[in-house]
């Protein structure tokens, strides 16, 4: 009994998050729509408290709980901290958008908190079962959130596509995990690694299981050729929900990839490297090329997300500690950039008009220069232009590739980044060099605008001090 108490204490952030999400849910149940503000404030408080709890649990080294199923290490701590902060920012962005459309209720916050709980579980998972359960918890919340605006046909269609393809991906992942379990006799990541290390195993069968696991992973990441859901979901979902999907789940996908590939299947490095190489090359090429042809900005950002996913996987590809750190750095920076970009789109739209066509941005520099400036910084950052942190994110990933001798892949990634710069700069051209088709006034909305300003400034500030974040990433994955 005493050991169970110690276990629960260790998993305090998760326990607290579950309790907080339930409280928010009950508030919505008993006080109806009037309590939306209360639910909002409580959700933010819960996220901040969870972050503090995560920070206060000492995780200088690896420590286990629940019979080795729960792992608390610096990586888990970092992912949890980033996830809590990201979700808090997302809620601040999303609130005015959903309020304007009068569709917000406590369930939205509860689902957001449960999704965060899923990510927390995944960050600390040291067992196939928990990786899968955390993933399902996260995904289930996301499916529901996409369909949250019920009277939108696009959103319903996007939700169904997301759900069906997500279910197939989960099936693939589970199939791979079950075969891996049958081969190694263990669900524990360390146990699997130990079995693989003592060799004598049937390598072909192991690679067979690995292939399914990597396919499931690629589906959840949205890497080419398992990317079909990404553009439709990004475009169809309400912009506030797209913002959610584009940011926090990427952290979860990253930690899942590290846990599976580095902790569990490190011995199969040579095999998953080949698979990842195909995924990364295809993602970087197709994401950037297809994005050029898009006229819908959310769809364009979806293809841009695919190419960024390619870059994150490029960091994982060499299988070195520096590569993982570079990938984590890239993930965090991508989350920052995506949050800002969708944040701009959210704040520019209002009840009458959604900002989802590229031409909607025409002449933005005149109508609202501050938004245009932030958007320009974000676009430069996504393209990887110096003076923004996106440059360092790409640089570190490429460095890790070159150190490990993946020169041709690195060159291809650079070339495709240049191709990608075209569509990012087109946005800047629309904003600064074109006249607006119709004059529109941007509604100021206090808090969200302040968050957006901080978000944009961080992108520039981190260019000046990239080492602070990079050192943290290296230390976390060291």
């Amino acid at each position: 009994m005493e050991s169970l108490n110690a276990d629960v204490l260790m998993a305090l952030p998760e326990v607290f998050m579950l309790a907080a999400a339930s409280v928010v849910l009950l508030i919505g149940l008993y006080t109806g729509r009037a309590s939306e503000t209360l639910a909002y404030v409580l959700s933010l408080a819960a996220l901040i408290t969870t972050a503090v709890l995560v920070y206060s649990t000492s995780a200088s080294s690896e420590s286990f709980a629940f019979g080795g199923m729960y792992l608390n290490d610096p990586l888990a701590q970092a992912i949890k901290l980033f996830a809590c902060v990201t979700v808090a920012a997302v809620l601040m962005y999303a609130r005015p958008y959903l309020q304007q459309r009068a569709r917000i209720s406590a369930e939205f916050y509860a689902l957001g908190l449960f999704a965060t709980l899923g990510t927390l579980v995944m960050a600390s998972a040291h067992n196939f079962v928990l990786i899968y359960l955390g993933l399902e918890l996260l995904s289930l919340c996301l499916y529901a959130l996409v369909a949250f605006v019920r009277d939108s046909r696009d959103a319903s269609e996007a939700a169904i596509k997301y759900f069906v393809l997500g279910a197939i991906a989960s099936g693939m992942l589970l199939y791979g995990m079950s075969i891996m379990y049958g081969l190694t006799g263990s669900l524990d990541l360390a146990g699997i690694n130990a079995y693989l290390a003592q060799s004598g195993a049937n390598r072909i069968a192991l690679v067979f299981a690995l292939a399914f696991i990597v396919v499931g992973l690629a589906f959840k990441f949205g890497a080419v050729p398992f990317h079909m859901w990404v553009p439709d979901v990004y475009q169809g979902a309400p912009t506030a929900i797209t913002l959610f999907i584009a940011t926090m789940p990427k952290l979860a996908a990253f930690v899942m990839a590290i846990r599976l590939l580095n902790y569990g299947l490190q011995e199969l490095l040579a095999d998953w490297q080949q698979m990842l190489m195909v995924l990364t090359v295809l993602s970087v090429v197709f994401g950037n090329v297809i994005a050029i042809a898009q006229t819908n900005i959310k769809r364009m950002l979806a293809y841009s997300a695919i190419s960024h996913i390619g870059f994150i996987l490029l960091g994982i590809l060499p299988g070195t500690d520096f590569g993982y750190a570079a990938a984590l750095f890239y993930t965090v920076i991508y989350v920052l950039m995506a949050a800002g970009t969708f944040g701009v789109l959210i704040l520019l739209g209002d009840r009458e008009r959604e900002m989802d066509r590229l031409v909607d941005l025409k002449g933005l520099a005149k109508t609202s220069p501050w938004f245009a400036l932030i958007m320009m910084v974000l676009m430069f950052s996504m393209a990887g232009v110096p003076l923004t942190v996106g440059f360092y994110a790409k640089l570190y990933v490429l460095q890790s590739l070159v150190y490990d001798g993946w020169l041709s892949v690195a060159v291809l990634a650079v070339v495709m980044s240049v191709v990608g710069a075209f569509y990012y700069l087109r946005v800047v051209k629309y904003m600064y060099f074109d006249e607006a088709d119709d004059v529109f006034q941007v509604q100021p909305s206090g808090l969200a605008q302040a968050v957006l300003s901080v978000n944009g400034l961080l992108v520039v500030a981190l260019f000046i001090f990239p080492n602070a974040l990079l050192n943290y990433c290296v230390q976390v994955l060291g």
Binding site: L4, D7, A11, L18, L25, A65, F66, G67, M69, Y70, S105, E107, A110, L111, F114, L117, V121, N127, V129, L130, L133, G134, E136, L137, L140, C141, Y143, A144, A147, F148, R150, G182, L183, G185, N202, I204, A205, F208
Partner: protein, 195 residues
């Protein structure tokens, strides 16, 4: 041993055949019934693995509850069969080709001895599968067990949020108001002249 293998292959054959039938029959009600058969034969195979509790749960929960409900839904819905079938013949060759290629590849890979784990010893007759499962779920696996519970909670929340419409014009009783009603609200005594 021979009997076990015979039983296994018997049920496996029914399982595979009814799974194929499920995705290929025209009538959706028949498809649901074939799915019931799939669950039932899977339960039989689990029984062979000495997983009695899981087998019975599968029959009780999936066949008894989920599939019956599903059957109701299928019967209630007005499904346009012709529309659903459109393109089936067109996509069939490609799908069949991909399926066969994958099946052959998997067979080639897994035909080598891969699963070299020791077969666990058969348990004595008075061994309680249910008790063992319960003990494991509430001790060693308490954390994943709770998380699974949370997933079910989220599923409930999602289903209710997505389907419940608050109709403002719907007529419904308010028990509180009914109970607190007093005579003055309901009865008005009017004194009238005699006629």
């Amino acid at each position: 041993m021979l009997i076990q293998s015979t039983v296994f292959y018997f049920f496996s054959a029914i399982l595979v055949a009814s799974a194929l039938a499920m995705i290929s029959v025209r009538n959706p009600v028949h498809a649901v019934l074939f799915l019931v058969l799939v669950f039932f034969t899977s339960a039989a195979i689990w029984l062979l693995l000495e997983a009695e509790f899981l087998a019975i749960t599968l029959v009780l929960v999936y066949v008894g509850a989920v599939m019956v409900l599903f059957l109701f839904v299928v019967m209630m819905l007005d499904i346009n069969l012709a529309k659903m079938r459109a393109g089936f013949a067109r996509y069939l060759p490609v799908g069949l080709l991909v399926g066969i290629v994958m099946a052959v590849e998997m067979a080639v890979i897994l035909s080598r001895p891969a699963f070299d784990l020791q077969k666990p010893q058969a348990k004595p007759a008075d061994y309680s599968n249910t008790q063992e499962l319960g003990e494991l779920l509430f001790t060693e696996y308490i954390y994943p067990f709770e998380i699974a519970g949370v997933i079910l909670l989220v599923a409930i929340i999602a289903a209710i949020t997505l389907t419940m419409h608050k109709r403002t014009r719907a007529k419904r009783q308010s028990p509180a108001r009914q109970v607190s009603a007093d005579r003055a609200e309901r009865v008005r005594l009017v004194s009238m002249d005699k006629e």
